[in-house]
Symmetry: C2
């Protein structure tokens, strides 16, 4: 007998987890396609050299890599960004400019598993590449707003997009003459929520060589004129000393968000810098009002050059990534109905004598299925109802239609325990009423 | 510069491939859930010992396996059946009996790539385990019929399910006293379509030690009373010598298919045996009327014991697997509309002066999106239309709404080349008319 265990850091997804996850993914896919994003897919396995590029980072240690039977060095993808960069270089002649894609798929990292971190997990990325202007920035932001409005059923007070611009921050570092240390400073600032203000101040003092400059940076990233985007922007311009290309871009984006009627979902928050060197334009994170502690559930930004490792073509772009696992955990905590029922079916049809009632039962099922009702038929003659209720309980099925040996049809709601006796012609309508 | 190549036998999926694939998968998922099947997922990577079981077969050479950073022997799954067997053993206490699951996901095999065969491909499996009776056999068949009726938009003349029963074949081998060679004989018979009658006759003569018995087997599997299930069954019973448990089960299943009104989609074809030792009850393959040469697009059968490698619990079941890649290729050949448009959007909105028209354009897009129309907004001011038509062509977008500097709105159909000038209030309706 082989022990049926999964690897450390990996997990099965049972129906109770998989049903809501699929529902959320399919909702997001629908929204991406309403905005003209196309799905793509790339192989799970690629040449290690293609995935690691210059390499040398943290990623190298975490990647699952090996030599295949043909002696090639291969690895499982650890994110969807690197394969996307490789993809646009591979298919340069086949794709349009701009190119708008989404990709929702699994990635693998050999990190040490801890609460909420797994070695196999989903990423959900969407990007617009081949264009650098305020319209495409606004379109990514609009897509995010549509996703979150849908998830929260129009209640935009449930979340807030925190938006900033990497250029603003860099221009401020210029004004302090510490731009050459920007990589370290960015990484430090990015840890603010994790390690706190005092520790950040200590590190920044080291990095800038001046407690005063460290305080300057901390006050810059703390500028938030409550709910007033333009006032915040004006104060940041004041600290930098003048209007800049970045502050101009932020004004243009804000105008577009106002015209679209979604500006209230965005606050200008200069503490958002995103740690990665990669970003060059707008950067953003998304926090849930009721669950700030779980961190950002949707993040991203604008970059100058997606695929410089693989092609000489300049490919500026802007993209966003939804933290699916984190978002699902949050929605479950909040009990929001977007994830729908976890049940495998809406109705279970059972018979005391299957041979006698099969024909009618499959007709009822067929009618209901054509109206979108998920019907399961219990495959045994039923003598005792306990097994049936256990089955419903395990599978989250709310309604049972019992066809007894007298030929009666009884519809039972397992939630309210109410029963009603029905004529054959009344069954479909009664089931639909109970479900709505 | 790194060469952006993918591994031999692997491939990217571009939007033109990924959009129809996703549409088909989502249609199938919807049908599975209408029948009360639940989705599950399992890790891509598992212990090699768990996946290979007793091992020693062809699979061992084809599997992608390696030692992970923790020194574990791990492998990428090569099918969805073995992980499912492991899954039901791992979660015996958490799942119901019967348990109905579907699983659509990628698997990996290091086979030598050839036309239509890749090292990474999809499998689409659905099974009912924990029950062995005619009702659950009929339910798998009914689910298949619903899938194919949907795919072929109600035209059931487009496909035929070829159904048989492993027991019938074994009982006939009993009557010839060659049951002890059944494994080899099954494998030979399974090659009939590939290697032809003569070669099968030669091999069977070797295996049974008798040219007469070989001919007997060949005539048994050739019994097909055109379109009459019960007449074929009666002749097979005649050759076996009497009614058997298997022929009785086939009659019961046929009665259920008749009651459900779907019996015409199934022919009894004793040449269907499925090579694998694994099957013990009904077995089936599915052929497309217009494309018989592509082989079966949906196959499976009943098995006695799903998870005997991992648990002592008896888990009989019945399952089916749709050959997604093959089916998609066939549907494309046949030009069937189930796969829908390959386009990334239904409408592209362009402006000669984006700054002047943005507010109206996003309003139009927002109205249309709320009605399910996929709208893309071109992110540049448009001076020459050539770039726009190239973009539509690349992305398969049929309609363009042009907002010119005079404030006029022109709707152009890139298929018919027709244009019409519209008032703002007419745009949404005109777009919907053109799309329907």
């Amino acid at each position: 007998m082989i022990d049926p265990v999964v690897l450390k850091g990996f997990r099965d997804s049972l129906p109770g987890q998989e049903i809501p996850k699929k529902r959320l993914i399919s909702k997001l896919e629908e929204i991406f396609s309403l905005y003209g994003f196309s799905p793509i897919d790339t192989p799970a396995l690629e040449y290690t050299s293609v995935l690691l590029g210059k390499g040398g980072g943290e990623t190298d240690k975490q990647i699952f890599h090996f030599q295949d039977n043909g002696g090639r060095e291969v690895a499982l993808r650890f994110d969807l960004t690197v394969p996307f960069a490789r993809f646009v270089a591979s298919h340069a002649g086949e794709i349009s400019r701009p190119f708008k894609r989404y990709h929702i798929s699994k990635v693998w990292r050999g990190e040490n598993p801890q609460k909420g971190r797994y070695r196999e997990f989903y990423q959900c990325d969407f990007d617009i590449v081949g264009v650098d202007n305020a319209y495409s920035d606004a379109e990514i932001l609009s897509t995010m707003a549509f996703c979150f409005d849908t998830i929260f059923q129009g209640d935009s007070s449930r979340y807030m997009f925190h938006l900033s611009h990497r250029g603003l921050f860099n221009e401020f570092l210029d004004s302090l003459c510490v731009r050459d240390r920007s990589v370290e400073i960015l990484r430090t600032v990015d840890k603010l929520r994790k390690i706190g203000r005092d520790e950040v101040a200590r590190l920044l003092s080291q990095e800038t060589g001046s407690a005063e400059k460290a305080e300057g940076i901390l006050s810059f990233i703390s500028v938030v004129e409550k709910e007033d985007f333009l006032a915040t922007l004006a104060r940041l311009e004041g600290l930098i000393g003048h209007e800049t290309a970045s502050s101009k871009r932020m004004k243009d984006i804000h105008t577009l968000l106002v015209q679209e009627g979604i500006a209230d979902r965005f606050m200008l928050d200069p503490s958002i810098t995103r740690g990665l060197d990669y970003y060059t334009g707008i950067v953003y994170e998304t926090f849930l009002t009721a669950l700030p502690s779980i961190g950002s559930v949707c993040s991203g930004g604008r970059y100058d050059n997606l695929a410089s490792l693989y092609t000489k073509e300049d490919l500026p772009g802007v993209g966003s990534s939804i933290g699916l696992d984190r978002l699902i955990a949050a929605l479950e905590d909040l009990g929001l109905p977007i994830l729908g029922s976890r049940g495998s079916a809406d109705l279970l049809i059972v018979s005391e004598d299957k041979a006698g009632s099969y024909e009618e039962d499959v007709k009822v099922a067929s009618t209901l299925r054509s109206r979108g009702v998920r019907c399961d038929i219990y495959p045994f003659d039923v003598k005792k109802m306990k097994a049936v209720y256990d089955y419903c309980d395990r599978n989250g099925i709310p309604l049972v239609l019992i066809h007894n040996w007298k030929g009666e049809r009884i519809l039972k709601d397992t939630r309210s325990k109410e029963s009603v006796v029905l004529e054959a012609s009344e069954v479909a309508g009664a089931v639909e009423d109970r479900l709505s």
